[in-house]
């Protein structure tokens, strides 16, 4: 099969042709900001994976003799009120933050994408029902919805992920539904229906691949948002609970020592900014490179 016919074939199946994918990958690589974002995320992933190697020992074990120390060779970012190394807790905190980001986005994807697909593809009463629920959820600002859910579900890592995950579901539903609504009118979908292809096959083979681009962009931006929300809940004392080294919780405890030891609250904040910045830069770059509206 020639390159053109291959491209044509993949286009009719609703996937991006290989040459286009290559062009968009090249565009993404040329985007320095996105590259920087990707590198930042990669660094955090490596830090999270190598945490026990980078910081041997427990990040939560207190050592009151060394409380609130400034930077030193032993503790490059100083220690907190319980004498624990701030660097060590930031290193282990990257595990928690990445875990939350992945958990939240997976939750949003697993519930939001199928509902969005069904809502956009079937329309009618199903769509009406799903959209009214979505409207209600979107009537609350995301963080507030997560806050309300935490109030009901209770504090802790699992409930933090579930609460923020639920608050992300309507975003995915809206995004996927919008795409599915337009794709269902495409000739190849109509053709697939005409030859008797089952709805589930049409949804998975023809519609879902076309929604992957906006989903990928939203996933990157959503991970950044999840880290921010989780840190916010941790800061308020209703997210991940101490002694788990979560960045927001660390900031919250550092607040009490702001006047004498501002370093306790400063460094976890920098870690949050860098991680969220990484996901936001990558998300922006992905949108520029992959979104057809910004096509080369």
């Amino acid at each position: 099969m020639t390159e053109t016919t291959k491209n044509e074939a993949s286009r009719t199946q609703g996937r991006l042709p290989y040459s286009q994918l290559r062009r968009r990958w090249a565009k993404l690589r040329r985007n320095k900001a996105a590259l920087f974002g990707g590198i930042l995320i990669l660094i955090f992933i490596v830090i999270a994976l190598l945490a026990p190697v980078l910081f041997p020992g427990s990040p939560s074990a207190p050592n009151l003799m060394k409380s609130l120390e400034r930077s030193s060779l032993e503790h490059p970012l100083g220690t907190d009120e319980l004498g624990r190394s701030i660097l060590g807790r930031i290193i282990y905190g990257s595990r928690i933050s990445l875990l939350i980001a992945v958990g939240v986005v997976s939750f949003g994807l697993l519930i939001g994408v199928p509902l969005g697909l069904v809502s956009g593809y079937y329309r009618g009463k199903v769509d009406f029902g799903i959209q009214r629920v979505t409207d209600t959820m979107l009537a609350f600002p995301g963080f507030l919805l997560a806050l309300a859910l935490v109030a009901v579900l209770g504090v802790g890592l699992k409930n933090t992920v579930i609460s923020i995950g639920i608050s992300m579901v309507p975003i995915y539903i809206r995004l996927v539904r919008g795409c599915a609504l337009s794709i269902r009118e495409e000739v190849y979908v109509e053709a697939a229906r005409a030859v008797g292809t089952r709805d589930i096959v049409i949804l998975l083979r023809h519609i879902l691949p076309n929604v992957m681009v906006p989903i990928t962009v939203q996933t990157s931006l959503g991970m950044g948002m999840a880290i921010l929300f989780a840190a916010g809940l941790g800061f308020l004392g209703i997210g991940v609970q101490p002694p788990t080294p979560e960045w927001g919780t660390m900031l919250s405890s550092g607040r009490a020592y702001l006047f004498h030891s501002p370093h306790v609250a400063t460094f976890p904040g920098i870690a949050i900014v860098l991680a969220v910045l990484g996901f936001n830069l990558l998300g922006d770059g992905l949108r520029d490179a992959l979104d057809p509206r910004f096509r080369l």
Binding site: L144, A148, L228, G237, V276
Partner: protein, 306 residues
């Protein structure tokens, strides 16, 4: 126009019903007996029974919902489990504080964000554009509560120019409102930039330039007016983020607003208060977006609501 306003107001009814259902089931989702939770651990069985009866929890679910809606329509949100004061009274006392912060923050965000976005769009891909876009992405990535803490360290601890928290004078408003504005300003600057870049490449802008109009007139009178709709939309949507941000900012600066009330209520498991405060924030958000919708017609006369 009036017809549109009425239509738009009516369209909020399903959302309001949805919100009421959400709040109604929120209390029912609580682990254990809601009456026991509201009465507290020390309550006697008689007290728990009284609360159950007062809340109508001893009736069928649909009757309970009707009862709940009836109270809601009379703005009766119950009494705080913590202070025993009426929920509406406490929210009403704190709402002006939150609104003051929100209005000052959104004004600051517009004052900084719109000009920054315009400058960035007029000189795209120059150093000034890079400064604006980089600052904006930093602003979006920054936790609002961390920024608040850092502003306290610099302006209250090191320089000692401003108070670290509390209320009382205009000086107390500066740090919390700047903190709250930082996040929103970034979004407004980004949206203004992209919207202006699009408008500046339109034929009518070229026509305005070719007529020999001054660049300022082209940018402000011809381009900005046409770029305003997405900017207004983003301001409306950001108001929601502002309410979420208010919860954190009010905590950092010990600001006695509704946001702080929500956090205190969650920590004290004061469910009637959480319900009430979240309902008020939800209503505010709907109302602001309704105003934004109506502003479209004012900004763009081509939009006719019939």
């Amino acid at each position: 126009m009036l017809q549109y306003v009425i239509k738009r107001l009516l369209s909020t009814i399903p959302v309001l019903i949805g919100i009421s259902l959400l709040l109604f089931f929120m209390l029912r989702m609580l682990p254990g007996d809601p009456a026991q939770v509201l009465a507290g651990q020390m309550a006697t069985p008689d007290e728990v029974e009284l609360i159950r009866h007062q809340l109508g929890l001893d009736r069928p679910v649909h009757v309970q919902y009707a009862f709940f809606l009836g109270r809601l329509a009379r703005f009766d949100l119950g009494r705080s489990a913590r202070t025993q004061n009426p929920v509406t009274e406490e929210i009403w006392a704190r709402l002006p504080n939150t609104m003051l912060l929100a209005v000052v923050a959104i004004t600051l965000a517009c004052l900084f964000g719109i000009p920054a976005g315009i400058i960035s769009a007029v000189r795209p891909y120059t150093w000034i554009d890079y400064v604006v876009t980089s600052t904006a992405i930093f602003g979006i990535s920054m936790p609002v509560f961390w920024l608040g803490l850092m502003l306290v360290v610099v302006f209250a601890v090191w320089l000692q120019w401003l108070p670290a928290g509390g209320t009382g004078s205009w000086r107390h408003v500066i740090l919390p409102s700047f903190t709250l504005a930082a996040f929103v300003v970034a979004f407004i600057a980004r949206m203004t930039r992209s919207s202006m870049i699009e408008v500046l490449s339109q034929d009518y802008t070229t026509t305005a330039r070719s007529k020999g109009l001054k660049e300022q007139v082209v940018v402000i009178k011809h381009a900005l007016k046409n770029a305003l709709i997405p900017i207004i939309t983003v301001i409306g949507l950001q108001f929601g983020m502002l309410l979420g941000g208010a919860v954190l900012t009010e905590t950092v600066f010990a600001w006695p607003g509704v946001g702080r009330l929500i956090v205190d209520s969650i920590l004290a498991r004061d469910y009637p208060m959480i319900q009430g405060a979240i309902l008020v924030f939800g209503l505010l958000y709907i109302l602001v977006n309704l105003v934004v919708d109506l502003l479209y017609a004012y900004v763009d006369p081509r939009i006719r609501y019939d």
